[in-house]
């Protein structure tokens, strides 16, 4: 019953937060309680246990479960230490809605059902009040849904090997379009509320979606695994190079943050494309660092981004180091795992990756400055994010163990 509850409880929590909007305390209390119960259900969902209470078998894979827990932790941190001007109930509403959708995607027995849930998430997000034109908010994730649906449809047919390769293209392009990485970047408005911006696709829903799509793809791309991996690595490298340079050079600080998420996704895509356990481990560590590091830091930097206030204090430099993936922060073991995976397969790729790691540095210095001079809850939040990053950077084993690696 746990997977069903893991989906239902946060969903009901999000619904309560919406329904009780006029009574903020009640909305917050009910949503928080249901959210906590949902997380407990995720924790209790064992990977080797399939639940069939609703007529379909629901299972959470270890990797999905680990990412879900990280996403829940990120949400908890943000709700406990909300960014300036952020409403906790609103954060919970969006966060629990996303969490319910992510859990449903992860637990779904087929990619088709997962994509239907993705479609629902897309519509729910687009229904929020954003600054972008409605159609533009819709377009890229909708394209992702169509491409993934095409992959599923093609996988149901038999045909020449070309067909499998087309499935590969649809899966990878669909994933890229859903995430909003290059070349399928979503339109971005720096002033838009984060919940309805492209950021949740990159930093909240994306990791679970990637784990689900790549996990399900194994059976769909039989015979074209090399092409699948190569395409992921190619897209990953393109995202690393372009997005790290854009993080450094783009004119808007908020856009720089968006590019930095994309650059991290480049690493993750390379890791997923390398298919060996080290590569997958690297991707998972990147996901953790996105969820528990970059996302909260981005949200806490929003106020100073609005005020265009940049500072050069010690905290800014340490944040920059964390964002750059330097030791002892969580990005460094991810890079080591990636280097090992690449070296074991094809060492020139490791050389390219090693050189690309340097591209994070200038952009990260810029991002570090945009965090401003945090005080109060924001300062505690930044300290918590940095401490978590150091802990995972020096001892990532529990995280990888949680994901079954």
């Amino acid at each position: 019953m746990e997977p069903e509850l893991a989906v239902a409880l946060p969903a009901v929590g999000a619904a309560c937060a919406t329904a009780f909007k006029p009574r903020p305390r009640l909305a917050f209390a009910s949503a928080a309680a249901l959210g906590v119960a949902g997380v407990v259900a995720v924790i209790l969902s064992r990977a080797d246990l399939t639940s069939d209470q609703l007529g379909i078998p629901l299972t959470l894979s270890p990797a999905s479960r680990a990412i879900l827990l990280a996403a829940a932790a990120a949400l908890a941190i943000l709700v406990a230490l909300p960014p300036p001007r952020a409403d906790r109930s609103n954060l919970l509403r969006w966060g629990l809605g996303g969490l319910a959708g992510m859990t449903a995607m992860a637990a779904a027995p087929s990619l088709g059902l997962g994509v239907i849930v993705l479609l629902l998430l897309l519509v729910l997000q687009a229904s929020g009040t954003g600054h972008r034109v409605y159609a533009n908010r819709f377009r890229a994730p909708a394209l992702a849904v169509v491409l993934l649906a095409l992959a599923i449809a093609l996988a149901a047919m038999q045909g020449p090997s070309l067909l499998t390769r087309l499935i590969v293209v649809c899966l990878v392009a669909g994933l890229a379009a859903a995430l909003g990485v290059l070349p399928y970047m979503h339109e971005f408005d720096p002033d838009e509320p984060t919940a309805v911006s492209p950021i949740p696709w990159l930093a909240f829903v994306g990791p679970v979606l990637a784990v689900v799509v790549v996990g399900r793809a194994e059976a769909m791309v039989e015979g074209a695994e090399d092409a699948f991996g190569a395409l992921l690595i190619g897209l990953g490298l393109m995202n690393i190079v372009v997005a790290t340079l854009a993080t450094w050079r783009t004119s808007s600080d908020a856009a720089a943050w968006r590019y930095s998420f994309i650059a991290d996704w480049g690493l993750a895509l390379c890791g997923l494309g390398l298919v060996v356990p080290d590569g997958v481990g690297a991707a998972l560590l990147v996901f953790y660092s996105i969820l528990l590091g970059r996302l909260p830091l981005y949200l806490w930097s929003r106020q100073s981004l609005r005020e265009k206030a940049t500072t050069e204090r010690p905290i800014n430099f340490i944040v920059a180091a964390a964002l750059a993936g330097s030791a002892p922060f969580a990005g460094f073991p991810a890079r080591i795992l990636l280097l090992r995976a690449a070296t074991s397969l094809y060492w020139p790729l490791a050389l390219v990756l090693a050189l690309s790691f340097l591209l994070w540095l200038p952009g990260s210095l810029r991002l570090g400055r945009t965090i401003g001079a945090p005080t109060g809850r924001q300062l505690i939040g930044v300290a918590v994010a940095l401490a978590l990053s150091v802990a995972f950077g020096l001892f990532p084993r529990p995280l990888l163990g949680l994901a079954g690696l």
Partner: protein, 177 residues
């Protein structure tokens, strides 16, 4: 039966591509639902077909209640869309009949043609009413291609109806073609 259903599904998707107002879009969604349900029925999933049809019809009814008035079918400037509908049908027919096997040819044709048409519509449209209609159509097709047992069909049907029930903002700018 699957061949007729496949043609119906294409017709529904084509109507969504060619329509710009609520009546045309609702009709397209309803026709698509009939086609998708027909395909599912022909695969022996009668329960799933009924659920999918119900979801599609409900979505169609909901679409009928909102959006610009009229049918808006093949308005001036829609020639490229018409060509798109025809070319996609021809190519999908070739792929379904000559290049692929497995399942019925009708299923293959319906899945390919509807997804490509609706995908094209999503990329091209700017109207806030068209987008959810096309997405609802995609949900129907997703139910059709991935259904296995009554629950996935029910989920697809619910999402189809739910998407159409979501409020959409008023159009901010003239419709593009």
């Amino acid at each position: 039966m699957s061949d007729v259903a496949a043609f119906t599904a294409w017709l529904g998707a084509a109507t969504i591509v060619l329509a710009d107002s609520r009546r045309g879009l609702a009709a397209g969604l309803a026709i698509l639902a009939v086609g998708a349900a027909g395909i599912v029925w022909s695969q022996g999933e009668q329960g799933g077909a009924i659920v999918l049809l119900a979801g599609g019809v409900l979505a169609s009814a909901l679409r009928f209640t909102s959006g610009p008035d009229g049918w808006g079918l093949m308005q001036p400037g829609s020639t490229p869309r018409l060509l798109f509908v025809v070319i996609v049908a021809v190519v999908a027919l070739w792929v379904a009949l000559a290049a692929t096997s497995g399942g019925s040819a009708g299923f293959r044709f319906a899945a390919l043609t509807t997804l490509v048409l609706l995908g094209g519509r999503l990329l091209e449209a700017a109207d806030p009413v068209v987008m959810p209609t096309a997405v609802a159509g995609v949900a129907l097709v997703l139910g059709m291609v991935s259904g296995d047992g009554i629950v996935p069909y029910a989920v697809a049907a619910l999402v189809t109806a739910g998407v159409s029930a979501m409020p959409v903002p008023a159009a901010r700018r003239p419709r593009g073609t």
